[in-house]
């Protein structure tokens, strides 16, 4: 049975939640498929919407092997590991009192009011409403992190979502709520166990209240045969800072939708993405910087390096609402073209309805700088290695925007491995 014809509701979920899932299933069936005439699907590969090939995942075969590979940072506050939409490890090392880190079914059962207040409250505006409805209908588990007011989680929290099995579908979910004045860093790993075809419809929602600080990094390393949607909304409160990074290391076809809402005065959202691309991989990114309050800042920086026949699509909108005076909004997409056959499509957009606004947006495409290459070769570095170092540096400039050396180092190592740099 495939994911389009079979709706399976987990018995672990409370009745109120299951009821919502039934409604979502109906919605999924009634929402029309996007077409190429839809602006939000311009330049997209519509083949990814062929969902009938994918089947609901059964329990993972080799839990020990999955756990052995779920190793990220050495120094952590806590870790949850999911495989095929089942929780396989909960490790709480050092979480301050009051912090909740729970699988979604427990949150829905034991903290109903709190969880219900934040769970998928914002509509999916960037093209994949149908996928979001499917996600909501087929969801079994996920991670819920709640950081109470004033609480600072010093060490990072790690989440892992594994897929294992051929032609399976999984629905990873992460919901983070940082209350006033709190802070946390979350690293969300999305990995495939084997080189098998799979489908992912993931949702991550980040709620960052006044004066809170959240860093959220999604490390995506799906198999080369995986089609994945990662749908995000971020809501940022007064003088709060949300920094998110999408590190897309793997996958065959990846579509990300990131909707960042600057809800209150002084809010700041930093939106980063790093995309090393080769073979026939495609990364399709849709973003929305939605300024709803005055004196807020949004700052988007996406760096793509495209080799072989890879292909990128970027479509981003900065919207400065009528109340959002004194806005600072930036959007920069850089494509480093490493092959004549690679293709980059960029559609930056701007809509300003307020006064005293500083905005800039732009997309650039360029090849490797020959003078940089010559300089490195003149030091004895072979051209292929020199090119990799330049690409690595191109990504490093984004990593530095995390402003957290230990995280920069960890993700730097992942990039070294991805680029086969010793």
């Amino acid at each position: 049975m495939n994911i389009v014809s079979q709706h399976q509701i987990s018995s672990d979920l409370p009745a109120w939640f299951s009821e919502q899932q039934k409604q979502a299933w109906t919605e999924f069936q009634s929402v029309p498929q996007p077409t190429r005439h839809d602006e939000l699907w311009r330049f997209s590969n519509l083949k990814i919407l062929d969902l009938a090939r994918w089947h609901l995942a059964s329990a993972p075969a080799d839990v020990d092997a999955l756990l052995a590979r779920s190793r990220g940072l050495s120094d952590l506050a806590a870790k949850l590991v999911f495989a095929n939409d089942r929780l396989i490890l909960r490790e709480i090392k050092n979480l301050p009192e009051g912090v909740l880190l729970l699988p979604l079914e427990e949150a829905a059962r034991d903290h109903e009011a709190l969880f219900e207040r934040y769970f998928m409250k914002h509509p999916t505006l960037l093209g994949s409403a149908k996928i979001a409805a499917l996600h909501r209908a087929q969801l079994k588990t996920g991670a819920f992190l709640y950081v109470p007011a004033g609480v600072k989680v010093e060490k990072p929290i790690e989440l892992w979502h594994w897929s294992e099995g051929d032609h399976i579908a999984i629905f990873p979910h992460t919901l983070v709520v940082c209350e006033e004045g709190s802070s946390a860093s979350v690293i969300d790993h999305f990995f495939s166990m084997n080189n098998e075809a799979s489908f992912v419809a993931g949702v991550n929602d980040l709620i960052v209240k006044a004066d809170a600080h959240l860093k959220y990094i999604a490390v995506q390393n799906w198999s080369r045969e995986t089609t994945a949607f990662h749908l995000n909304t971020t809501g940022v409160g007064k003088n709060a800072v949300a920094t998110s990074l999408q590190l897309n290391l793997g996958g065959r076809y990846i579509r990300t939708e990131s909707n960042s809402r600057l809800l209150e005065e002084g809010a700041r959202s930093v939106m980063l993405s790093i995309n090393p691309m080769d073979a026939d991989r495609e990364v399709d990114q849709r973003t929305f910087q939605d300024h709803l309050a005055p004196s807020a800042t949004s700052d988007l920086l996406y760096h793509n390096a495209l080799d072989d026949r890879s292909r990128s699509v970027f479509s981003g909108l900065i919207k400065v609402g009528t109340a959002a005076h004194e806005t600072d909004a930036y959007q920069k997409v850089r494509n480093l073209m490493l092959s004549d056959e690679a293709e980059a499509n960029s559609m930056p957009g701007l809509e300003i309805l307020a006064d005293r606004v500083r905005c800039s947006h732009g997309a650039t495409s360029g090849e490797l700088n020959q003078d940089e290459l010559f300089y490195m070769m003149a030091r004895g570095i072979p051209p292929q290695k020199a090119a990799k170092l330049i690409v690595r540096g191109f990504f490093e400039t984004v990593l530095r925007r995390l402003e957290e050396p230990s995280l920069e180092k960890y993700f730097g190592h992942l990039l070294d491995r991805r680029l086969a740099l010793g």
Binding site: E372, F374, R379, A386, F395
Partner: protein
């Protein structure tokens, strides 16, 4: 044989000839200076030797200890022992100095041999101390946001780490104040020795007060028109380049 020999070298950029039959021998252990007016072809000579792809060699040869290097890629020439200190060193965003030099040192090791990190950093820090380069520089991107003096010190640091057999210093004095010039010069002087041949390219005699050459050559119209000892530099400073051109 232990000589960097330039034989009747002709090179152009596009259709424009710049080097027109240049001959020069730099034995290991000696420091030679090339002086000349702007546009005489000094920097072109440096780039042609290093293998810059914008220049075409139309005839002649460059021999490193008897081996022709003109058919080689720039990185192969560098690994053979040729070093070019750039007049305008490139900025490489996101690549730290430590990683950059490390890749260059690693490239000189035999296939499969890994650089020992502790030894590498010990050597790097020692050389940085000699050049008064603060440790924090290792984590900065190559030349990004550097002052003129910092860039040139970084070039000399690379030279010190790579220990070339022949070094070409292209206008290493340009953009330096007198204090920076002294630091850079003492760094270069520390690398002088019987195993190293150096070619110092400069427009001004000032640098040669600090890096005293064994021989001085004057370049005009893409060739060497006059050679002499270090006193030739003083004469050029006093009388200008027109004296040489008139003499020819």
């Amino acid at each position: 044989m232990n000589t960097l020999s330039i034989r009747n070298l002709h090179a152009s950029i596009g259709d424009k000839p710049i080097l027109r039959g240049l001959n020069l021998d730099i034995p290991q252990g000696e420091v030679h200076a090339i002086m000349g007016k702007n546009g005489s072809g000094k920097s072109t000579l440096a780039k042609v030797m290093a293998g810059h792809p914008d220049y075409t060699v139309t005839s002649g040869d460059v021999l490193l200890n008897g081996q022709s290097i003109l058919g080689m890629e720039p990185d192969v020439r560098a690994r053979l022992g040729l070093f070019l200190a750039f007049q305008y060193p490139m900025e490489i965003p996101g690549v730290t100095i430590a990683n950059f030099i490390r890749a260059a040192v690693q490239a000189r090791l035999p296939e499969g041999e890994e650089l020992e990190a502790t030894e590498y950093y010990a050597k790097l820090y020692a050389k940085m101390d000699e050049l008064s380069i603060p440790r924090a520089f290792t984590s900065r991107s190559v030349n990004e946001g550097f002052s003129g003096g910092e860039k040139k010190r970084c070039e000399v640091l690379q030279m010190a780490m790579l220990q070339p057999r022949y070094a070409v210093l292209d206008e290493t004095d340009s953009g330096l104040d007198i204090d920076a010039l002294k630091v850079v010069s003492s760094g270069v002087n520390a690398l002088r020795g019987p195993e190293v041949g150096m070619l110092v390219i400069t427009h001004y005699q000032r640098l040669l007060d600090y890096i005293v050459p064994d021989k001085v050559h004057v370049m005009a119209e893409g060739e060497i028109v006059l050679s002499g000892d270090k006193d030739l530099a003083l004469k050029l400073e006093a009388e200008g380049y027109d004296w040489v051109t008139a003499k020819n």
